[in-house]
Symmetry: C2
Subunit: 345 residues, 2 copies
Amino acid sequence: MTSVLSDSPFVRACRGQDVPHTPVWFMRQAGRSLPEYRKIRAGIGMLESCRRPDLVTEITLQPVRRHQVDAAILFSDIVVPIAAAGVDLDIVAGTGPVVAEPIRTEKDLDRLRPITADDVAFVAESVRLLTGELGRTPLIGFAGAPFTLASYLIEGGPSRTYTKTKAMMYGEPGLWHALLTRLSGITLAFLRTQIDAGVSAVQLFDSWAGALSEADYREYVLPHSREVLAGLADTDVPRIHFGVGTAVLLQAMGEAGADVVGVDWRTPLDRATEQLGARHAVQGNLDPAVLFASWEVVEREARRVLEQGRAAPGHIFNLGHGVLPETDPTVLTRLVELIHDISAR
Amino acid sequence: MTSVLSDSPFVRACRGQDVPHTPVWFMRQAGRSLPEYRKIRAGIGMLESCRRPDLVTEITLQPVRRHQVDAAILFSDIVVPIAAAGVDLDIVAGTGPVVAEPIRTEKDLDRLRPITADDVAFVAESVRLLTGELGRTPLIGFAGAPFTLASYLIEGGPSRTYTKTKAMMYGEPGLWHALLTRLSGITLAFLRTQIDAGVSAVQLFDSWAGALSEADYREYVLPHSREVLAGLADTDVPRIHFGVGTAVLLQAMGEAGADVVGVDWRTPLDRATEQLGARHAVQGNLDPAVLFASWEVVEREARRVLEQGRAAPGHIFNLGHGVLPETDPTVLTRLVELIHDISAR
C-alpha cells in the first residue's frame, strides 16, 4: 500500500483533490485497437495471455508508452478469477467468455470454490513487474462485479436479454444470493491480491448491471457489490465503480462504496453528479463511437465532457465504455494531448 | 378512420380518458411463446408469413383468443417495409434481420426507394381481414422508427454496440440525415396504409434508440421520428412511441409526437410520468423476465406497475419489452385476468 501514488493527478482526481490537469485513461486502452498488441498476441489465447506476467506487463505498458495516459490498467479479463475458482471457460475471439457448463442449480455452486492469492499468483507477479516499470504512473487493478460475472456463468456466455440470469434472480432468490455471495468473495480476494501487490486504484466493472431497474439492483445486486467495495475500505486505494446503461442506477452504485463512479455516454457528467449528490468523483461519458468522427467532432465532444465534468468533486477523463477494436489509436493519442492541454491549470 | 374503436378501454386509455379497467396487451404477444403459433409457422419463413394475410390474421388473433387481451397487434416485423422498399434482407431464426448488402454510402441509398400502398398491399389486406374478425377489440398497427431501421441497414444485422451506425451518424451527418429522411418517408407510408385499412392505433418502435444520449437523440433522431408521428396528427388514431433503455430519452420521445410513451422495465411509470410532465399516457414497465418467477412475484410486480401507472393521465398495462420466447403462455393469460380484476372500477 506504500505504492499508492497519492500525488499523481489520477489518484488526486479520484480523491477529489486539486490536479495540475485532468487525468485521462481509456477503458480497454490495453489491447484491441493497438497493432503492437495484435502482434504480441498472435497465436496466443486470451486467457493464456492474461496468465503470463511477461505478456501482461508488455501489453499493459503499450498504451502508456503510446498515448501518455495518466494511468495504466492491468491487462486481464473479468473471467480470470472465476477461471481460477475452477470454472471451465474460454474467451472466444469475436464472442467473449464461453462457460462450458453454465451454473444453474445449487449443486453447480460447488464448481465455484473460493480463491486464494496462490490461485492468481500470476496477477500479483504481473502487478509487481508493472509497478517497477511504471514509476510515477499509477496502475489500476480491476475485477468484474458479482452481477456481471453471474450473468456469464448463468447464461453460459454474453447475452442481450439476460433471461436466464433474471429467471434465477426472480425465480430462485435463495440460489441467486448464494451464487452472488460466492462471487463477491472471489472478487474481493482477487482485488486484495492486486492491492497487496501494489496497484494504486481498483475499478469494479459491473458492465451489465444496467439491465436492471433500480429496485431490482438494490435488492439483488447492491449488497454483493457493497461486500466487495466496502470490503476494501480499510485500504487507501481509490475504488472506481462502472457499468453501462446505468442512468437510473448511478446513485445506488455510488452507495455501494465507490470513490469514483464511472458513467457511460448516456448520462452527461453534470447530471450524473447531480444524481450522486456531488459526493463522488466521476469518470467517463465520451461515446467510444465518437472517435470515428472528424477531429472537429471529437474535440467538440471532448470539450463538452470536460466542461460537464467540472460539476463533480473530481473528474477523470475517459470513454463511456471500452475502446472499440476498430478505433484509430492515433486519435486516442491526440485526445490525451488535447485534454492535457485544455485542462492545464 | 371510422374504424377507430373510440369507446374501447384501450383507445380510451391512450387518450387519457376514464376506463372500466386498465387495458392490457403484450408486445410480441403474437408469435414466439405460443405453441399454436409455432405449429402454424412450421416450415414457413418469417418474411413469407408476414406477407400472407391468412397467416397474419390467424397469428394476430391467436393471443386475443387465448389471453383476452384488450388489443391485438398486427403480426409483422419492423423490416417488412424496408424489404418492400427494395432492400435484400432476410429474418434469420435465432439471429434477427440480416441485410445482404448493408447501406453505408450515398450510392447505397438508391437501393431504398419510396414505397406506396401497393408495395404493402398484403398488409392492408391483413388489416381488413382482421378488423372484420376482431369486432370490438382494437387492432394496433406498427412500424420500426427510422433510427432502429437505420441501425439494421447500416450494421447489416443486430448489434450490441452500433459502432457502424454511430460512425455514420457522427462522421457523415449529411449521409445520415439523408438515410433517415428516406426511412421516415417509408415508415410514414407504411403506417398510413395501416391506418387507411382500419387500425385503431399505431405503435412506432424505436427499439434501439436507447443506445444514444439525449443530446444525440435530439440532433440525429428526433426530427425524423417527429416526421413520422407528427405526420399522422391529422388522423384520430392514437400514436404509441416505444424504445428500450430510454431512461434519459422519455421526454424527447414524448415530444416526437406520441400520445402514449412506452417505457421499459428500468424506469418506473410514476417517474416516467414525472419526466413526461404528465402530458402522455404511459405503457409498459413489467420486466418480461419476471414472468419466469413464482406467481407471487409476478403478482407483486404487476400490482406495483398498476399502482405506479396511476400517476399518468392514461395507463396501458404491458411488459417493458417483448414477450420472451420461453415464456409460459398460461402466465400471460393469468396476468390479463389479474389486471382486469384488480383494476376494475
